[in-house]
């Protein structure tokens, strides 16, 4: 029973650790906002090109891309928060406690998921304020779920890297790398408007499939096929992350 009690407490601590620091919230909320302003205003004419979803504006398209960026940033912040725990040796104390190691990771990932969800809610409010509407209310719920799962899946990879290396500089480099991976997907421009080699990169980038699903509520409505593809992509990322976390934690314990 004590084991079950630990998970919510660890999740709460993980969420508090990230939500209470402006430098952790800025990449999740401020950075995507800058992208939203820059791309929806600066590249607004893109909507006139054939291949852009008919009847929608650049803002409608950008909002899904910025939600993806926000969720991925939440994942990166999770890794950086893990590094903080390693530096202050909090993780070492937890490993000496009787809490199962799986729950240590789940607690961290639950906090990351909450941060991702926060980004989803904030950008949905921004979308509403500026006139974008989801096709159905249930679409919004699917969007929030995908948003949280994206943060968790990406966060599992960054947490794994943090546990493995213990180096702030290594985890910090994941931030620009993650932005680049989001940009090299369909997040900000539909794939039909991407030229090679970017289109080929986007095709093999799992974030493209997540991005397509996050766009759908604002562009036409959620479809099962796209949502399933996104869930498969997230499952692949999550499995990579889970393997990385398990191996890294074992490495740290045996270390």
């Amino acid at each position: 029973m004590a084991d079950l009690d630990a998970l919510p407490a660890l999740a709460r601590r993980s969420a508090r650790q990230t939500l209470s620091r402006p430098q952790f919230l800025a990449p999740v909320l401020l950075l995507p906002t800058i992208f939203l302003v820059a791309y929806s205003g600066g590249a607004a004419s893109l909507r006139h090109l054939p291949g852009f979803p008919a009847g929608y504006g650049m803002f409608d398209y950008q909002i899904g891309g910025d939600m993806l960026l926000s969720a991925v940033m939440a994942g990166v912040i999770g890794g950086i928060a893990q590094i903080v725990d390693i530096q202050v040796r909090f993780i070492d104390r937890l490993l000496l406690s009787p809490v199962p190691r799986g729950q240590l990771l789940l607690g961290r990932l639950a906090g990351i998921g909450l941060l991702g969800l926060l980004g989803g809610v904030v950008f949905s409010v921004i979308a509403f304020v500026f006139g974008a509407r989801p096709a159905r209310v249930t679409d919004l719920l699917i969007l929030f779920l995908l948003q949280a799962l994206t943060a968790v899946a990406w966060g599992s990879i960054t947490t794994g890297v943090a546990l493995r290396t213990g180096k702030p500089s290594t985890v910090q480099t994941l931030l620009p790398l993650s932005i680049v991976l989001v940009m090299f997907s369909s997040a900000f421009v539909p794939r039909r408007l991407l030229d090679d080699p970017l289109d080929t990169i986007a095709r093999f980038n799992p974030l493209t499939y997540v991005s397509d699903a996050l766009h759908e509520p604002w562009i036409g409505g959620v479809t099962t096929a796209t949502t399933v593809k996104a869930l498969v992509a997230l499952a692949v990322l999550g499995l990579i992350g889970a393997g990385l976390c398990a191996g890294s934690l074992r490495h740290r314990v045996e270390g």
């Binding site: 302003v37 929806s40 590249a43 650049m58």
Partner: protein, 249 residues
């Protein structure tokens, strides 16, 4: 003399390890390549000012690189203030202005390195300026924006006294850059953005730096950019100097 010595100190890391410039180049390079890749089709629009998007976006890449690297001056300055080194420098027999000018020059040199790198990358990707004189004008304006960004970074560092204010140093610079004709000419921006771009001083600078890559620089395309950059330099360095004059008094 003191300005030269302090500038050399500000660039010590580059002299001992030239590879130290690489982190300065990563973000601007990726942002430039991403803009080039994802918005390239904008040039297919009939009313786009050119069909060569690479030439259109290279000046923005250079100005963006200068802005990102230049604003980093505040990070080092803030760290010196926080660690107390700045207070020790103030005890030296040098004018306070020398501390500010040297930090600005050191950041501008770093920005110039990033600008030249982005230019070479752009040329390798097919951008074609209209002539060598025009090219120098474009580079000069981009580097000058590096000095502007450094002025802002130094102002924020003096106001906050910490390097942790880095997001406040960089975010407004990026916002100023993108709230203008960054990826498309002004007439193709969203309706709400056009009046903002019209009063944004960086728009004039960007258009002046871009003209040499499109149809060639003329006096009428250049002077608004020169006035904008001069005004931004004057305002920001005067504000930073005012804060410096009040520091520890």
């Amino acid at each position: 003399m003191s300005v030269l010595a302090l500038t050399r100190r500000g660039m010590a890391d580059l002299r001992t390890s030239p590879a130290g410039v690489i982190p300065d180049l990563i973000a601007p390079t990726f942002l430039f390549l991403a803009a080039l890749g994802i918005f390239g089709r904008l040039a297919d629009l009939n009313n786009f000012s050119t069909n060569d998007f690479t030439s259109f976006v290279v000046p923005f890449g250079m100005v963006q690189a200068a802005g990102l690297v230049g604003s980093g001056a505040g990070v080092n300055f803030g760290q010196d203030i926080r660690t107390g080194l700045f207070d020790r420098l103030l005890l030296m027999p040098v004018r306070r202005a020398a501390l500010l000018i040297s930090a600005g020059i050191a950041a501008t040199v770093r920005a110039a390195i990033a600008v030249v790198f982005l230019l070479l990358l752009g040329l390798a990707l097919g951008a074609r300026p209209t002539g060598p004189g025009n090219l120098l004008l474009s580079v000069g304006l981009a580097v000058a924006f590096g000095a502007v960004a450094a002025g802002w970074g130094l102002f924020v560092a003096l106001r906050t006294g910490t390097s942790a204010a880095a997001p406040i140093m960089q975010a407004p610079i990026i916002l100023l850059l993108v709230l203008g004709p960054a990826y498309a000419p002004r007439e193709l921006l969203a309706g709400w953005l056009q009046p903002i771009a019209a009063v944004n001083p960086v728009s004039r600078l960007l258009e002046a730096a871009r003209a040499p890559f499109l149809h060639g620089a003329t006096w009428s395309s250049t002077w608004p950019g020169l006035v904008s950059v001069a005004a931004m330099l004057l305002v920001l360095y005067a504000a930073a100097a005012w804060l410096l004059s009040r520091h520890n008094r």
